[in-house]
């Protein structure tokens, strides 16, 4: 069988591994427009300030020799311009055609383009791939005051890193708090104080309207009319699924490429996984793209198993994030703010715990700040729609752990009898 994978990141790599666990014979071809082996996207901010370099294993998603060992034909540095589902081939930008029996679209996302004037100016950067990071890193010596547009995961992280490099940073966020979808107000306050502690100028409830400057950016003009003098801008307003290829090929698309429970697109030979795919969200109760790494990995595996004909169902995922800003670590999952759910929360001595539970006593979301080590247990509860009625009372205990569970359940779980 000829398997072709478009994209070379988390979903693709996990798909390759899953295929090779079961099938040593089929040919695997990977096509990616980036000329690098798969790397760790979350480390891009670290790359920018030189905490990690491209010569370190730490930066990459897999160790050198991965493609050879997995017998993968990697076509790197070439982009796919067309998918022909009828002829079962793809066309590369050098007009080469690659035939497939099964195709996996794992082409990820592309940076969202905000409606800001002056994005073409020098000193304006995005941070979704190595190219962008490299560019920023080289430009760093020219930047004294950097405005970071968007306080999402990348935005907050790069703001923190730049501040550490003694660059003056202004972080501009449209919402009333940083990391809006991932944290609630109280949780965000922890980050706010961390960011402020690093000397970052935090501007909330505002957005960038335009960038001014002749050749290089000199001024950032906010919607509120405020003007900030800056010689660098990082635009980090998020990514959107890279659905162009699928759309052109006539596959069913929505916000992302629509897939069924088996990660199969509307064409039965074509699968999609990762940030590009629009799969089921357990907490949300509908299909939507969730661009996070663990889900990309899981979808990559599942799509690969289905490509091999193994009939493995994707049970769905939900958003979850782990991030450390300064000295504060937090993990959040699912719904983090709601008026319709039962909310349990607790805050003391730099610790914050919040749980959201629906009327059926299913955990829908949670936030842990600083005392995060048992977070995965809640992850499991959300994932498995666990009835928490008898145990939710102890969720707020700082020493929450296995000791609070019902004995029979605990024994079965720890014996791995309940998955």
């Amino acid at each position: 069988m000829k398997i072709v994978i478009v994209g070379n990141s988390v979903a693709a790599i996990n798909a390759i591994e899953a295929i090779r666990e079961k099938d040593k014979i089929s040919s695997i071809t990977v096509v990616s427009d980036e000329n690098y082996r798969a790397y760790s996207h979350p480390l891009l901010p670290n790359l920018v300030i030189g905490e990690v370099s491209r010569s370190e294993d730490r930066f990459y998603y897999r160790r050198p020799g991965f493609y050879e060992e997995s017998k993968v034909n990697a076509i790197l540095g070439k982009s796919v311009i067309k998918v022909n589902p009828k002829n079962k081939n793809i066309e590369l930008n050098n007009s080469e055609k690659v035939e497939y029996d099964k195709l996996l679209l794992a082409c990820g996302g592309k940076p969202a383009k905000p409606l800001i004037d002056g994005l073409e100016l020098e000193g304006v950067h995005t941070l979704t791939n190595i190219k962008g990071a490299d560019k920023l890193r080289k430009d760093l010596k020219n930047i004294n005051h950097c405005v970071v547009v968007g306080a999402g995961l990348i935005g907050s992280k790069i703001a923190e890193k730049l501040a550490k490099k003694r660059v003056k940073v202004t972080l501009v966020e449209l919402a009333r708090r940083v990391l809006f979808p991932v944290l609630d107000d109280k949780g965000a306050d922890f980050i706010h104080s961390e960011l402020k502690g690093l000397g970052i100028n935090l501007i909330l409830n505002d957005s960038v309207k335009a960038l001014g400057g002749s050749n290089r950016v000199e001024q950032v003009i906010l919607n509120s009319g405020k003007k900030i003098n800056a010689d660098g801008v990082v635009v980090a307003v998020g990514v959107s699924p890279n659905i162009d290829l699928a759309k052109d090929a006539g596959l069913k698309v929505d916000k992302g490429v629509v897939v069924n429970d088996y990660m199969q697109t509307s064409d039965e030979s074509i699968y999609a996984a990762g940030d590009v795919a629009q799969a089921y969200d357990i907490v949300y109760g509908a299909k939507r793209p969730i661009p996070i790494l663990p889900l990309a990995a899981k979808q990559g595996r599942i799509s690969a198993l289905n490509i091999l004909g193994m009939d493995v169902k994707y049970k769905g995922g939900f958003p979850m994030n782990s991030i450390t800003i300064g000295g504060t670590s937090f993990i959040s999952m699912g719904v983090v703010d709601s008026d319709n759910l039962e909310v349990l929360s607790f805050e003391r001595d730099g610790e914050y715990r919040k749980f959201l539970i629906d009327e059926d006593n299913r955990l829908k979301g949670m936030i842990l700040v600083n005392n995060i080590e048992k977070a995965g247990i809640f992850n499991w509860m959300i994932q498995n729609k666990f009835d928490v009625s008898w145990i939710k009372d102890v969720f707020l205990n700082s020493d929450f752990g296995w000791k609070y569970f019902n004995k029979a359940f605990r024994v079965l779980r720890l014996d791995r009898k309940i998955k």
Binding site: S322, I323, E373, I377, L414
Partner: protein, 146 residues
């Protein structure tokens, strides 16, 4: 594949599994030095107590380990023996594994200069029987096929 079976009915809350784990993962592997002379490693197992319940919990080495899926740079991986271990040279302390671990058994070691380190049971690669199992005086931890 054999795993540590947790027999909570036998756990006497003596912490000796933690002691053994610390010694095994210390530089000298000498109990006195590990505790009093060197930087004390973090125990990979945790003894929990809620009268009369007590039990030691450590990595279950899942077949479909979510921590491996969640790892952003392949540091969390399955070793030659099939156990889930962390590559401490590459771990960047992003705590994604902690977020994913359904047993809550990965701990944070934040004592390194730049990168945090996910610390978890490595099934004692230098030993035939994990130190905690050997140390448990009441066979509350046993090496078994689960």
């Amino acid at each position: 594949m054999k795993t540590v079976k947790i027999r909570e009915d036998n756990c006497i809350f003596c912490h000796l599994c933690e002691v053994a784990c610390i010694v095994e993962h210390s530089q000298s592997k000498d109990i006195i030095k590990a505790f009093k002379r060197e930087e004390k490693p973090i125990a990979r197992c945790t003894v929990e107590f809620n009268y009369p319940v007590s039990l030691s919990v450590m990595c279950r080495h899942c077949d479909d380990a979510p921590c491996i899926e969640a790892c952003q740079n392949g540091s969390m991986h399955r070793d030659d023996r099939g156990y889930v271990v962390v590559d401490s040279d590459t771990c960047v302390g992003c705590w994604m594994c902690i977020m994913a671990c359904p047993y809550g058994v990965i701990k944070r070691d934040t004592r390194r200069e730049m990168w945090g380190l996910s610390t978890k049971c490595d099934f004692c690669p230098d030993r035939e029987i994990p130190a905690c199992v050997e140390a448990c005086p009441n066979e509350a931890l046993t090496l078994e096929e689960l």
